[in-house]
Subunit: 217 residues, 4 copies
Amino acid sequence: MQNSGTLTTRRTAPKEQREQQLIDAAMQIIAEHGLSGTTTALLTRQAGLSAGIINLHFGNKDKLLEATLASLVQEHRARWMASLAAVPDEPAERLWALMEAHFAPEICTPTKIAVWFAFFGESGHRATYRHISENFDLERSDFMDECCTRLVAESGKAALDPERVSHLIESTADGLWLDMLLYPEEMDVDNARDQMRTLLHHFFPRHFEMPANPIYP
Amino acid sequence: MQNSGTLTTRRTAPKEQREQQLIDAAMQIIAEHGLSGTTTALLTRQAGLSAGIINLHFGNKDKLLEATLASLVQEHRARWMASLAAVPDEPAERLWALMEAHFAPEICTPTKIAVWFAFFGESGHRATYRHISENFDLERSDFMDECCTRLVAESGKAALDPERVSHLIESTADGLWLDMLLYPEEMDVDNARDQMRTLLHHFFPRHFEMPANPIYP
Amino acid sequence: MQNSGTLTTRRTAPKEQREQQLIDAAMQIIAEHGLSGTTTALLTRQAGLSAGIINLHFGNKDKLLEATLASLVQEHRARWMASLAAVPDEPAERLWALMEAHFAPEICTPTKIAVWFAFFGESGHRATYRHISENFDLERSDFMDECCTRLVAESGKAALDPERVSHLIESTADGLWLDMLLYPEEMDVDNARDQMRTLLHHFFPRHFEMPANPIYP
Amino acid sequence: MQNSGTLTTRRTAPKEQREQQLIDAAMQIIAEHGLSGTTTALLTRQAGLSAGIINLHFGNKDKLLEATLASLVQEHRARWMASLAAVPDEPAERLWALMEAHFAPEICTPTKIAVWFAFFGESGHRATYRHISENFDLERSDFMDECCTRLVAESGKAALDPERVSHLIESTADGLWLDMLLYPEEMDVDNARDQMRTLLHHFFPRHFEMPANPIYP
DNA sequence: CATGAATGAGTCTTCATTCAT
DNA sequence: AATGAATGAAGACTCATTCAT
């Protein structure tokens, strides 16, 4: 009488939808109010749902917060994989695919960056938060190392330590994110991408050209 | 862990000393528990003082937090000025003085970095926090621009946009801080300084040598 | 003393009922402990409810206090209207209807009088409190003026200023309330009503007889 | 060496002066902030003295408050006695002397009235407060009774119960005070005195004339 | 006598969580 | 599956009082 078809599908679908609804709300609220200002009342109101809903679907608030971070990680990784799938197996192209994902407009919204840094700010004492992004960070790090190793080899620059360069590129990318967080007026995704390209050009001039528009806003 | 057993037993202490005592406690607690886990009870216990003390000296908890960030900014700036005073008026030396301050062991303690990022994580919605560090950031930015302008001129590299390079260096420095926060095992001040030197060598090979120890841990 | 054992056990009650429950508790506690001794703990314990309930229904303690005064005003006015509805359109009867309401046993309980004066005692600096009763006071004042004007006209006492008499009657009524507050042993509603009748007889002997029981307790 | 003259006088005088200073401050603060808003910080700041001073001179805050009420009572009584000393032994004159004291400008300042009612508002549960004014009230009540008894006798109005009239006059006087508290714009001492005279004229036309200015503001 | 820094019990308020509906 | 009234532990803040100076 309830539902005559596949029971599981019907039951599962709404559940996932509710969870996503809450995660979306969490992104918004964390960005607006910080992790310390994120209350269940704010979350459920933003989601347009009732007070008990978080505990119903996630057990408690912290789990929702973790799911939010996980969702961010997941989305970022998916975007990267999509970029990667679209390019040939050339180290420069592969590396740039990562950068494109890293500074993709839908990845780098002010809201999402704010949420990332909100979690970073707590990750010192919240091992959970660090664990969630750890695998992703590792995977990305290895990927960068591999790209740089190949690029260094192709460049014939023996003096260049691939891992060091790799790390430097990553750090700069992260630093540009911080800029987008703190000074959104001055730093946007296009600007950041140009910055990255400038850096890459200096390390691997044969593989990366300077950005087209050299005029700084 | 409580209080370092100096002369806190004195019922009356100079106002400045009490305030510093509370700011020190705040650093510790914010680093350990995050901004959202920083309670007045934790703070006063850490300081070895009574519940009402925060209100007495700072009006309320938020003011203490702001004073903590301000203290961090102040200390950083003072360290930079000290480095600067010790070098001749050469752009490369001046720039490196800034880097030395930025990655000085007493500036870059795990505790202090954690506190910085705790505030960054909330700065999206807390204009107050951003305002406190704004002037300092601006001053540093201008200083970097000036150094890079001179370095570019001396290098004869017409293609290099000084402001862009300047920004890139800053972003990388910030990114390295994030690394020290998230992966303290892998990134320490010495490593970070070497990274910075590698970057600077690539932009200005005539002014900056590659770091001495090219072996990556 | 706690709760009168009706259906407070119900976890959920109509909003109005909970609010009344809290207002009733407030009356009791204010009368017993004064406005300055009225704590949320006392209030919620008296109501037999939990600590958070005041915030849930009134936002904060002050709002509950204001609602308590408003309830007092409302009740008094309703009682007066009821009395008024029961008498013909004769000024003496109408005026006496007001007095009857003013000294009705359910209006003049020691508890309620104590609450009134608790608010009067703070009304000097709390504009809110005065505002709440202001309209009611004005309405009553106008009503009294009208009654007295008609009574003076009917009495043919040209020398009598209706407004002055009206004011005097009101002031006396208020003074009797103060007596009931300060000396409940000596002044009760019956006594007060007789006092009022004595006063009215002196101003309008044709309309008001001396009270039946001339013996003073 | 300290002081060569009468030791006691010198020591006592400043103490009384400090106490009066604090009582004056209390009047002001209670009138402005109500009893519930009267904090020691406010009191000592108003007095221009240090935090510990109240405990030093009065033991605790409550004692100062009681002393403040006592001072009010004392002043009122003294004013009455002064008025009384200036009139012949005629009941009408004696009664009017009381009224003149009751509505004397220095007795009926907005501040003092506010303080009186602040204490009335708490007197329901604070026996101490009631006790302080009790003797004075009793004395005044007896005095009024006596005056009225003589006035009734002189008037030849057998129907008039002296005690009832006496009480009524007192109640009205109190009611006028409440008016001065709640509606200071409409009721001042002159107006109140005229009201009282109107009332007295109605009870004892041979002894009290109607007030000179019959026009109501 | 007088000060005022410090205390800490007591208040109000917040908010994650529960649970009857 | 969802609601939202109610809870109550935990939080920030107040303020009368103490006590070393």
